[in-house]
Symmetry: C2
Subunit: 249 residues, 2 copies
């Protein structure tokens, strides 16, 4: 017998099957080895803005949580990104990837050159978590349900197709393979427990759809600016700039 809870979980998973950004052609291109070095760099620069904003999103969530136990459970997400005494953290790992593709990590960390459309999408996500219900905020995080598959494909595809890919530059994705399942198991159970009316289930599903839009629109912006026909908007990163000193000299 299918329960409401099972049916709702299936509904959430179907949103991923139809809308997650693993379906975006940029990822085929990236993982298949068809990106130019500058297209990879543009992806690394823009995706950094998302990474850099995620701990702010998680802190915004915690700032609205009255239950110390829920805050404690959520805190590890910030630790995973910002690092701890034992763990350099996802943001530093991403900057190692930036170096591996020939970019100056300080340039990448400055967030100069990020596409305005990337900023609008990512900032909308942080604001969503700050302003919507806790249920919607947790539901939006459930794109992590669909992340292990894309990370595994990415590691395999990048290692097969690009010289920059090695254990050090892939460390971000390798770590997310370990970290994301723990986060998403907690988040999924929390959403299934708390979405106990049709109205709340609809809100949670809409929140997850919103989040898939946030991810997808970043790749559309990247494609429009740097793939074909590329039209880089004013102020955004120009190929040939922001390179690491060794390459620039």
């Amino acid at each position: 017998m299918t329960t409401d809870r099972d049916a709702f979980e299936a509904r959430l998973r179907q949103i991923g099957a139809e809308r997650y950004h693993d379906l975006h052609p940029f990822h085929d291109r990236l993982h298949g080895g068809d990106c130019t070095p500058d297209q990879v760099r543009a992806w690394v620069i823009n995706r950094y803005y998302y990474q850099h904003s995620i701990p702010m999103k998680d802190a915004a969530f915690m700032s609205r949580v009255e239950d110390p136990a829920l805050r404690r459970a959520w805190r590890s997400r910030i630790e995973d990104h910002d690092g701890t005494a034992e763990n350099e953290g996802g943001i530093r790992r991403w900057l190692r990837l930036a170096e591996a593709v020939g970019l100056d990590p300080d340039y990448v960390a400055s967030c100069e050159g990020v596409l305005p459309a990337t900023k609008f999408a990512v900032d909308a996500y942080v604001r969503f978590v700050r302003e919507k219900t806790l249920l919607e905020a947790v539901a939006a995080s459930l794109t992590e349900l669909f992340a292990p598959k894309i990370h595994a494909n990415r590691i395999k595809g990048l290692l097969a197709n690009y010289d920059f890919a090695d254990d050090s530059s892939m460390a971000y994705f390798q770590n997310r393979l370990k970290e994301a399942p723990k986060d998403v198991a907690f988040g999924l159970a929390w959403v299934l427990d708390h979405a106990d009316t049709d109205e709340k289930r609809d809100m949670a599903a809409q929140a997850l759809i919103f989040k898939t839009d946030v991810l997808w629109s970043q790749l559309d912006a990247l494609w429009g600016a740097y793939v074909a026909p590329a039209r880089i908007p004013p102020g955004a990163w120009q190929p040939g700039t922001g390179l690491s000193l060794q390459r620039a000299s």
Copy 2:
């Protein structure tokens, strides 16, 4: 020679000397053994609301910080309150104090019965940190500069004057004696480094004054409701309720 930096630090310390809530008569009464058991309970119930809000305030701060290093430095404040694998955390320690004074810790944790004036003051602080500049948010935290003295006086006064006071119920204050100096050393240095114009120094000083108002007004509300002439507002804690099961039976 006195530098701008030294003069500014002296100005901040002078704010504490004139306005910190160690000067409030409620604290003389509490530390001197002159509070009735119900007055101590009212203080524990209302002060809990402040404790319970502080990690939300710190998360609100972190949600606005773009620098991972600053977020990392700030994160230990949340750990100190919410706890870690090795540390039960300040909120649980406060609930042990609640039990020691005969209150049901679940009642205290529910935040029912907290004076509306306490909530308004504390919520104003969380909102201040969410909305003002980072400099003002850090400056507001500098009341910690003045806390070790009041905590030391409190431990001594409560141990001397009340049966409920022992190592377990005083653990919150003992731990704050260890934790606060590390936080405030960081916060003070950050404010002194970043308040580099007269305008910013004025803003930081005003923020610290605001925070002393937040603390002081909580004690005024407590005094008006539970000391003399006591007038408990509608909905606030009534002596004889919210007691632990042993005492109530």
